[in-house]
Amino acid sequence: MASETHAAGHGILHHHFDDLGQQRESNTLGMWLFLATELMMFGGLFLAYSIYRWQFPGAFHAGSQHLNITLGTINTFVLLASSFTMAMAVHSAATGNKQKLLFYLILTWLFGAAFLGIKAVEWTTDWKEGLVPGFHWFYYQEPANAAKVPELFNQWATTPDQVLLYFVVYFSMTGLHAIHMIVGLGVVGWYILLAARNQFVGGNDQPVEIVGLYWHLIDIIWIFLFPLLYLVAGFHPGGPH
């Protein structure tokens, strides 16, 4: 490792910092700046979402009908819970409790994996139903679903093309979110190994805090995605026809 360390007694202080306080603050600030870029990046998709939903409200209502609200709710629960366990992991690292740190990190990882698993189940269903734009889009072309097209007109005032646009937005947003989850899982998994090797002891708890910030941001993005994508029409898909 080229970044030799020289502060006496502290193997964790990098050479170019004066002291641990400065290093810790820099790391925190750096992570928050990175989160700001992540927010702006998702922001572009949220903008596209807003504009198209405003223009094609029907498509977004109709499209959201194809999603499984139950699984979405469970996933939201899972991700909120993982945020809690991650916060606890950070707490355990700060208090120097290695056993608890390991426990909570593993729990966080499991929650994250569960989230992706459930997401995978949802996507598989979409795939089977032919709701994946560009790859497997036939739902509204199927003879069996021929009746759905006039229904789209009558009930949701929309067309298959616009529902397709909704699904493009849906897969872009959840896809980008899932990529972030996968990265998060990788890092948390690696940190579990590091924690097992006593890497986060003796005041070196900050890496856990930093990865925690990232994890919470993914959670926050999902907090918005859930109502925006799943609950467009809520549970009142009403309207007699």
Binding site: Q55, F153, Q155, A157, T159, G239
Partner: protein
């Protein structure tokens, strides 16, 4: 041709050109004033205070709030006056004058197709009479293009899936460049042509020559039958769909569908049936539902070319000119009583009474059947103003 008063800028051939050149000249003068001023100051200082020059260097000021304020506020005032002037002009540029002669433009890689209502169409060439406002209604078949006539000092992007408009009043007969200004692929630089401004009599003569077996409305009428529009929309065909005679340029009652809310519960509102409304109704029939009808029309998005859409729109407009509906006929939806609605579709939209009850609108409408292009285009142009018709949730 008379000598050009702005040798560096080319001919001014539209009513906007002179004004745009004037504001551009002013901004150019500002540019010259400041850049020359700065250059002189820099050179003067560089010479006077060059190293070794025996000059007074004592008490050099390092900051001065009054000076900073001065050179903040003065440029600001200049900048904002330019903004005001240019914005006023631009505002005028967006207001299509009533009674403009309408020409349809379709851009595609790498040609312009221009359609005169009288039936004559042109490729990469545009003939217009001098002194008469012309409005181009434009769209693209593929990528973004931009309709640019330097002599008019005007351009407007031509965007797929959207209508854009550009109007101008040619002021000087002659032949001018027509360019595509937005990069549109391999042969972008050959997507050029010419605009010929003619004396009105010449133009009238020109219109009757060449490929004019059919008027544009006749082309539209053919499509109207070919694509089965007449099956539902023709005057006597059916009660499933609103008849289209006479609706162009008028206020028509519509319902803005709200997802999940049955049509019966949605109050009706009115929009002006202008070019945009009819275009939308063909490619996005689900967006606005003619009040009192079911939403059963299929979308023609991607099934009709933009040229065909223009022809259909023009035909519907033509019907308004030629066949004013009699009061109370099927074509005149405003004449329907709530009972008529009930009989026809089984329900009455919530506030339809409010809208159809006031007979001023319908009275005015049947009273003077519009004749000639001028009247209806006026309606169309103002329609653009009033009928923003954006769904509100």
């Amino acid at each position: 041709m008379e000598p050009n008063s702005y040798p560096l800028t080319g001919v001014q051939a539209s009513s906007m050109a002179g004004d745009i050149d004037a504001v551009a000249l002013f901004v150019t003068l500002v540019t010259v004033f400041f850049s020359v001023g700065i250059a002189i100051a820099v050179i003067f200082f560089a010479v006077k205070y060059r190293r070794g020059a025996k000059v007074d260097r004592s008490n050099a000021p390092l900051h001065s709030v009054p000076v900073e304020i001065a050179w903040t506020v003065i440029p600001l005032i200049i900048a904002l006056s330019i903004f005001g002037w240019a914005a006023t002009l631009y505002f005028r540029h967006t207001q299509v004058p009533p009674g403009s002669m309408e020409i349809y433009v379709v851009g595609k890689q790498w040609m312009w197709k221009l359609q005169h209502p009288e039936g004559r169409w042109e490729m990469n060439e545009l003939h217009v009479p001098v002194g008469k406002p012309v409005v181009l209604t434009m769209t693209s078949e593929d990528v973004i293009h931009s309709f640019y006539v330097p002599a008019f000092r005007l351009k407007q992007d031509v965007i797929p899936g959207q209508f854009t408009q550009l109007w101008f009043t040619p002021t000087k007969p002659g032949t001018y460049h027509l360019f595509c200004a937005e990069f549109c692929g391999a042969f972008h630089s050959t997507m050029v042509g010419s605009v010929t401004v003619m004396e009105p009599e010449e133009y009238a003569k020109w219109l009757t020559t060449g490929n004019t077996q059919q008027t544009f409305a006749q082309v539209g009428a053919q499509l109207f039958r070919q694509y089965g529009c007449s099956g539902c929309h023709a005057g006597n065909s059916s009660v499933k769909a609103p008849p289209l005679e006479g609706i162009y340029g008028k206020s028509v009652p519509v319902q803005i569908p709200q997802p999940g809310t049955p049509l019966e519960r949605i109050p009706a509102t009115t929009v002006v049936a202008d070019t945009k409304y009819i275009h939308d109704s063909i490619v996005q029939p689900e967006k606005l539902i003619a009040a009192g009808y079911r939403n059963i029309m299929p979308s023609f998005r991607n099934r009709l070319t933009e040229e065909q859409l223009f022809a259909l729109i023009h035909y519907i407009r033509f019907m308004a000119d030629q066949m004013p509906p009699a009061r109370g006929s099927r074509g005149d939806v405003s004449g329907l009583t709530p009972e008529d609605y009930k009989a026809r579709i089984g329900f009455v939209p919530e506030n339809i009474k409010k809208i159809t009850g006031g007979s001023d609108a319908s009275g005015g409408r049947t009273g003077s059947a519009p004749s000639g292009t001028t009247g209806t285009t006026g309606g169309g142009a103002t329609g653009g103003a009033a009928g923003t018709g954006t769904p509100q949730q």
